[in-house]
Amino acid sequence: MSPLLEARGLTTVFETRAGLLPAVRDVSFTVAAGEIVGLVGESGSGKSVTGFSLLGLIDPPGRIAAGSVRLDGEELIGLEQGRLRALRGRSIAMVFQDPSTTLNPLLTIGAQMRLALEAHGGRDASAMRARAIETLSQVGIADPAARLGAYPHQFSGGMRQRVAIAIALLNRPKLIVCDEPTTALDVSIQAQILSEMRDLARNIGTAMIWISHDLAVVSSIASRILVMYAGRVLETGPTRDVLSAPRHPYTQGLLDSLPAHATPGTALRQIPGSTPSLVDIGPGCAFAPRCARASEACASDPAESVAGNRRWRCHHPIAAVA
């Protein structure tokens, strides 16, 4: 079976005064129907730009410089704007970190949901209303029919994010790109939304790409994980395998940085230094300057190694656990 989404060699660059900034470099991955794939990394790792690139949401000075993104067999890169607009919202949708920038403060949520349906051929007012009510109840909003007349400011932050998710669901997209959708929310609300999204993927078969900096969040929702650093995917595989026995020293470093696994009060094993500037990124492994395992070999770009369903890019990977 061919995957729902297949990205190959995706490369997105930004022209800046300091030079060409490669935000996403040669990123390849697949998402199967109904699967939740986690995309983790620190700020500047290119995880959000990867998400934006999938929907063609890259504006100048940025551009997709190379690569291919196929959704259900259809090539998205280089697609003309009209066709892309028809796909966005219908086949592939996105949920952003801040729901207040997604929603129009001047329109009731009912009106906004109707617009989203009309944009993809919705005509019958009562059918559109019924669909809006259905998606609002899918995301756990009580008394959805009454809430259609409410404005965004009448909802709490967690409820606003649910409305944004409901709008993304309206046209039954096959894939939703979720860019840190719970980061701005309180932990109790985050847990509610995580469990609702997991149920949605299970029940209606929507695939998701879950972008987050939080390894614990990704581990609780995604079956597969991609670890990004400086625009590259450094390691990928089934989430629990990767987090239980990482092959790439960066993944191990991230896990060691978490206080959850350390003895309280003891020094955490920190990754020295900070993330590199992408403008003058060299040809070698971008993590090498911060890596304890680095050697002269790391001045050259490590090729991708494959073992079963695990992949990594490292000259000195951590030995596999038997």
Partner: protein, 332 residues
């Protein structure tokens, strides 16, 4: 260990400022008085010298307001905040802070530094003004503190925009420590930092605390960070402390149903063989403008009974080191 910080029945209300017309209309019975939020209500709390106390809760629970009261930035509406037996702020209509012994670090290191001030000037301003260092010795003083937080001396001559978030937070820490405080109030000091940088700053806190004998109030929504840094933890819900005790004990066996629910709702790193990594709390956080009567948590609580609606439970000691505000605490 002696007691260093003491809060006695501290409350803090916030009201929309009412203009003259509104006040006249209220007096004439034509308008409702502006709504009042009780951000903190009736909090009693002590922090011992050298202790690290974690203050956790969801947004709007009053943890930052409480931190600001202890740091002498906000006066309490009622009650007293004391440091070593003396008030942190004076009395009267416009109270001012009367001590330099408590300092604060904020979440956003970008907002806490003036973009037009060089780092060196930002660090030495307070100590010079309070006579902690002579202007002629300010340079060496600044370099000393930069070194203490792991920054090179040339940082003093640069501006905030030239630094990353993690470096700026180091500068903010140096600036607070240069006032030679006994107590450091840290409001979400690592929340805006990347995971790998977070670990660096947490390690810095652990080292500085030991070397300088600091007393810490560590405000955070991240229970993993609090577990790592703090000896004791206080959990707040809608302006009240609902449970307090040694961090390890509270986190492994909480007594308050809210504490249990909060701990359960946080996703844990799920490794091989793990199941159900988190469990959401039912319901939404009520509006702090109109919190439910009695125990504020009763509307979301499975253990709630009628007495929880009628009477709000007081924070009561349970054993030598723990206390809980619940009519039906979870039994060990």
């Amino acid at each position: 260990m002696s007691e260093l910080v003491r809060l006695e029945k501290v409350s803090r209300r916030f009201a929309q400022p009412a203009g003259l017309t509104r006040r006249l209309a209220v007096a004439a019975g034509l308008s409702q008085p502006p709504s009042v939020v009780r951000a903190v209500s009736d909090v009693d709390l002590t922090i011992r010298a050298g202790e690290a106390l974690g203050l956790v809760g969801e947004s709007g629970c009053g943890k930052s307001t409480l931190g600001r009261i202890i740091a002498g930035i906000l006066p309490p509406s009622e009650g007293r905040a004391m440091l070593d037996g003396a008030r942190v702020m004076g009395e009267g209509r416009r109270p001012v802070k009367t001590t330099t012994r408590v300092q604060m670090i904020f979440q956003d290191p970008f907002a806490s530094l003036d973009p037009r001030w060089k780092i060196g000037a930002a660090i030495s301003e307070g100590p010079i003004a309070h006579g902690l260092v002579a202007p002629s010795e300010a340079r060496a003083f600044v370099v000393g503190w930069l070194q203490a937080v792991g920054l090179p001396p040339d940082v003093a001559d640069r501006y905030p925009h030239q630094f990353s978030g993690g470096q700026r937070q180091r500068v903010a820490i140096a600036r607070a420590l240069a006032m030679k405080p006994d107590v450091l109030v840290c409001d979400e000091p690592v929340a805006s930092l990347d995971v790998s940088i977070q670990a660096q700053i947490i390690n810095l806190f652990l080292t500085l605390r030991r070397e300088l004998d600091l007393t810490l109030l560590f405000i955070s929504h991240d229970l993993g960070v609090v577990r790592h840094v703090c000896d004791r933890i206080a959990i707040m819900y809608l302006g009240r402390i609902v449970e307090m005790g040694p961090t390890q004990v509270v986190m492994s066996a909480p007594l308050h149903p809210y504490a249990r629910a909060l701990l359960d709702s946080i996703p844990r790193l799920a490794l091989e063989g793990d199941e159900a990594a988190f469990r959401p709390i039912a319901g939404e956080l009520p509006s702090p403008l109109a919190p439910p009567p009695g125990c504020h948590f009763h509307v979301r609580c499975r253990r709630a009974a009628e007495s929880c609606i009628r009477q709000s439970p007081l924070l009561t000691p349970r054993g030598p080191s723990r206390s809980v505000a619940c009519h039906f605490p979870i039994e060990e």
